[in-house]
Symmetry: C2
Subunit: 248 residues, 2 copies
DNA sequence: CGGCATTTTGACAATCGTCAATCAGTGTGG
DNA sequence: CCACACTGATTGACGATTGTCAAAATGCCG
């Protein structure tokens, strides 16, 4: 099975065979974690770099009254906590949403490796930066789009991200989250997520059953979410937009 | 007049006198830019590193139908676009909200400087990371807080950030934005911003007039926004929270 | 003073959240 | 194999927050 971290990075940088080897060894001893488990909690000391190899994890924060906001999904190939020994402790929590396979790489190991392999270092930093661009887009999504647009946007983004790591099956991908998780992601109530999903389904944009999401009309989903691939640095469509923007 | 970039970085790293000198020279030839001007537009090639020395700038995105979402404020000492020659072009725009004084540092200059002064390099990277933590918190703020909490949280955050660069006057600071700008920041309509500001005022939490914001009750503003300083790496209060968290 | 941007108000509508109940799916133990 | 429990999905009724529209008031600047 191809290594999702290698696949993710290869969208951003050309890796040499030895570099790929190093990355595969890095993620060799990963552990299975059940769903709904915290990998790190806000306030904890900085953990190792967490690399997700299977399943969905997320970064999230809790408010004192238990409102939860998920600020990022970590799908296979995504990692968290690259920034070396700064700051002193976590400003948010990381937890699993589904059963996951997760590698923990100590910071010392990671920095030694990045020193020895500048290509990997560069790739990892670019990936971290690309993830920040996703966060930025999520602000726009949550702040300025309707519930319908929001979910359309999210499902399209996830399609591209799954494709980038070879985990899309046609236009579909695994989606094992509950509607409550979706609500905490897109800042909607569970009930409203449910109603909006029904609208997306009855408009023929998506199918969602048995923990699998199928995009039934890729173009219409993309435009319904007002999706602009500008921010997805690993999306092949991005270059095309660039060219057309240059022409204007 | 003390250099806001130096002040900002000194919250994160101890700088040597020569390092401070280098930074001051770096920001010496800055240009004045009027309010409402774009410094870079989404899709443009990567510009120089932009360092704000006076005024409010912001990062923002526009949707096709002109909805706008501001995703970050750049106040004096803040910068944008540190990430070297990646990606190829901007995924969001940067513009001024008020009249600003802005330094543009070419990437070549910046990377040479960072190579020669690892202390500065480390400080700048930490600052960039700290800014990402702010973005993360904004997702929570916009997603999970009411309009009242949202504005309280923002005004408290800005107080801490202004203090960090020596620009708070007592518990007040410059705030030259319009209510429309505030709405595009916190994902509220202008009308609702107005109503919420009136509530904050009549509760005695803030005063806001003649482009100046005064926090009238710091503690109550902080708790109204459910403010947790965990994410503000330059907030002196942060360490205290850390200690008490460790005791629990 | 006149013009323009911004703030403020009021009335009304739409989106979205809450509450509470029901339905469906899954897994367990007898 | 079925009863049972539990989680998650779905529905309906209702209410609250927030947005929209439009107008009036205020403030700012030349």
């Amino acid at each position: 099975m191809p290594n999702p971290l290698v696949l993710k990075l290869e969208n951003l940088v050309r890796l040499s065979a030895p570099e790929r080897d190093v990355l595969e060894r890095l993620t060799r001893d990963a552990v299975h974690v059940g769903p709904g488990q915290d990998l790190v909690r806000e306030g904890d000391a900085l953990p190792s770099v967490l690399i997700v190899l299977q399943g969905y994890a997320c970064r999230y924060k809790l408010l004192p009254d238990a409102r939860r906001q998920i600020t990022a999904y970590l799908i296979p190939g995504d990692f968290s906590g690259l920034h070396l020994p700064f700051p002193d402790r976590m400003d948010c929590s990381v937890g699993t949403l589904s059963a996951c396979l997760v590698a923990r790489v100590p910071h010392a190991t990671m920095s030694a490796l990045m020193e020895e392999h500048p290509g990997i270092a560069s790739a990892m930093r670019r990936a971290a930066f690309a993830d920040e661009a996703v966060l930025n887009e999520w602000v726009v999504n949550i702040g300025r789009r309707t519930s319908y647009e929001r979910l359309a946007h999210l499902f399209y983004e996830l399609l591209i991200r799954h494709r980038a790591v070879g985990l899309a099956h046609g236009d579909g991908y695994d989606f094992p989250l509950t509607q409550a998780d979706l609500g905490d992601t897109m800042a909607l109530s569970t009930v409203h997520v449910n109603r909006t999903l029904q609208a997306l389904r009855s408009d023929g944009l998506i199918g969602l059953e048995r923990k699998r999401l199928d995009v039934l009309d890729v173009e219409r989903l993309k435009s319904s979410g007002m999706f602009n691939p500008n921010y997805l640095y690993f999306d092949p469509d991005r270059r095309q937009t660039e060219r057309s923007a240059a022409t204007v």
